[in-house]
Amino acid sequence: MTRPGNILLGVKDISLRFGGVRALTDVSFDIHEGEIFAIIGPNGAGKSSMLNCINGFYHPQEGTITFRGQQRRRMRPYEAAAQGISRTFQNIALFRGMTTLENVMTGRMLKMQASFVEQALYLGRGKREEVAHREKVEEVIDFLEIQSIRKTPVGRLPYGLQKRVELARALAAEPELLLLDEPMAGMNVEEKEDMCRFVLSTNHELGTTIALIEHDMGVVMDLSDRVVVLDYGKKLAEGTPDEIRGNQEVIDAYLGVSHD
């Protein structure tokens, strides 16, 4: 059910080295508008490094990344955020000292414009903005069904809910491209089903393009429109879930090949 759209993000011949370690070698793929794109591969294949390149944590030595048709210069993560790329982390990266509400509000950081004086006095735009963005944040909170933990410090929440709050923070920024790094890791079946539901409705209802890394093959095959497989920093295969499932190289990479 590939929905052909314009290319949102193009990755071309990306190579990333840390000293002598080649994390990524000549990786190319395109992410189209409106699709759910999965990056899979065994541990250490370079999946997270790929996401880090896309949102500016790492700067690949070679290759280009184009976003919305524009080739990107070397940039910092906050610049990627300003362009409309949001992300969640493999290990939850929430602001633990803050409540759910405050965490999700930080997601709207870039959309707020009140000056320092207006904020310090909580007058004029300072107050109006807080209320207006609160409304937007409440929509996200409703969407992800986390109303009851609105005022709870996130440090006290169970793991599954923390993952959901992190997704809420990413969605609050109204991203064009949402990067999810193992959104289902460490979850039980019920939590995984919930999370899948949220990923799908984000894609369908909000029209957000999603790139995700996931180890649960069932989830990957069910959710994604297209899949790219990485192994040892190289692209092994790219295609629809069905094509990937039948690809001998992919099967070998996951199961190992006997050499006798």
Partner: protein
């Protein structure tokens, strides 16, 4: 029970985001403020106003300042004394050289100068964190104090090096210098406290406060939601130093009535740091509780034996004071890192369910 949270429904987001959402809290704070403005000058003795309330309020401002930097933004600083000194010396310099300028303007202006200095010493914070940053701010502490002592320009070439605070008035009532009345000084300081505490609360609930806390809690994720680390940290340094500068200026002009370096040495930095640790990191209320606690503890310890009819030699009391101080700091670090403010919050949560366990 009079005090209750139940049944107070909010029908708009702005009501939910108000500073004090519970009606009774609101009345309590208004009442306390009104009492501090009207009641205290009428009722309290000269000693309580001049020797306890004025210094506690001034130190609360300094604690608020350090709390913005350390409690909210997570940047450890040992340079509080130096930033206070910057405020004190520059307030003196401005007040004595631009004599037409009203004193209520001189002090914020001195705060702005301290903020500029704070930004300069905050620049290393992009690269270094935690203890290393604390050492970098320690450099500020020693360098600035050395500068103010060595360069006589700051004290208008005064021969003693410790010039008396210039007497200045508002509405014809003298508020600074030795000759000013304690009530006048108290009200002058209180005006700053009220405004600065209100601003601190507003910042804490706005975008700028959230960006500080985000940097404190997880700087990588903060960058990811679009927070630029350097401007955010520098804004915390600037605002923190502004608060400390105002506190230092008030300390010199309204409390000790002279501009002297010993008032702002490393001990002052530690004292303010203890205040926010004991009071509560990242809490405006905690800054006040901590300032009052740390400042009053020695006074209470000094006079406590007298209340029970004992007399203990004063140096013994000093020793006991040191020991108790150490014990309390360790106690708070272990039992409740979030300090008195958190204890207060826990007490409220317990009372909400009382007498049931859950």
């Amino acid at each position: 029970m009079l005090y209750r949270e139940a049944g107070q429904f909010k029908t708009s987001y702005s009501a939910d985001q108000a500073m004090l959402t519970i009606t009774l809290d609101r009345w309590f704070v208004f009442g306390l403020t009104a009492f501090a403005i009207i009641g205290v000058p009428l009722l309290a003795s000269e000693y309580i106003i001049g020797s306890i309330l004025v210094p506690v309020l001034i130190l609360s401002i300094a604690a608020l300042g350090l709390n913005i930097l350390t409690g909210y933004c997570g940047q450890l600083s040992l340079g509080t004394g130096a930033f206070m000194a910057a405020g004190a010396y520059l307030a003196y310099k401005i007040a004595t050289n631009i004599t037409w300028m009203p004193i209520w303007l001189v002090i914020p202006l001195a705060g702005l100068c301290a903020a500029a200095i704070g930004i300069a010493f905050g620049l290393p914070s992009l690269r270094i964190k935690g203890f290393y940053l604390a050492v970098a701010t320690l450099a500020a502490q020693f360098f600035l104090l050395w500068l103010f002592v060595k360069v006589p320009w700051f004290v208008n070439n005064s021969i003693s090096g410790v010039p008396p605070a210039p007497p200045r008035s508002i509405f014809g009532i003298q508020v600074t210098g030795a000759a000013a009345g304690n009530e006048a000084k108290y009200l002058f300081v209180l005006a700053f406290v009220i405004v600065l505490a209100w601003i601190a609360r507003n910042m804490a609930r706005s975008r700028i406060g959230r960006s500080w806390m985000a940097i404190r809690d997880m700087d990588i994720a903060a960058e990811l939601v679009g927070i630029r680390p350097l401007p955010t940290k520098l804004s915390a340094f600037a605002i923190s130093s502004f608060y400390c500068g105002v506190a230092g200026a008030l300390w010199a002009l309204c409390y000790i009535n002279s501009v002297e370096p010993t008032a702002f040495d490393i001990n002052r930095s530690f004292q303010v740091l203890f205040m926010i640790i004991v009071g509560g990191l990242g809490s405006v209320l905690g800054s006040f509780l901590g300032a009052a606690f740390i400042f009053l503890l020695p006074i209470v310890l000094n006079s406590a034996p007298g209340w029970f009819g004992y007399s203990i030699a004063s140096d013994t009391i000093t020793h006991i004071e040191f020991m108790l101080f150490g014990v309390l700091i360790i106690f708070f670090l272990i039992v409740e890192p979030h300090g008195l403010a958190r204890l207060w919050q826990i007490a409220k949560e317990k009372l909400r369910l009382w007498p049931f366990p859950y």
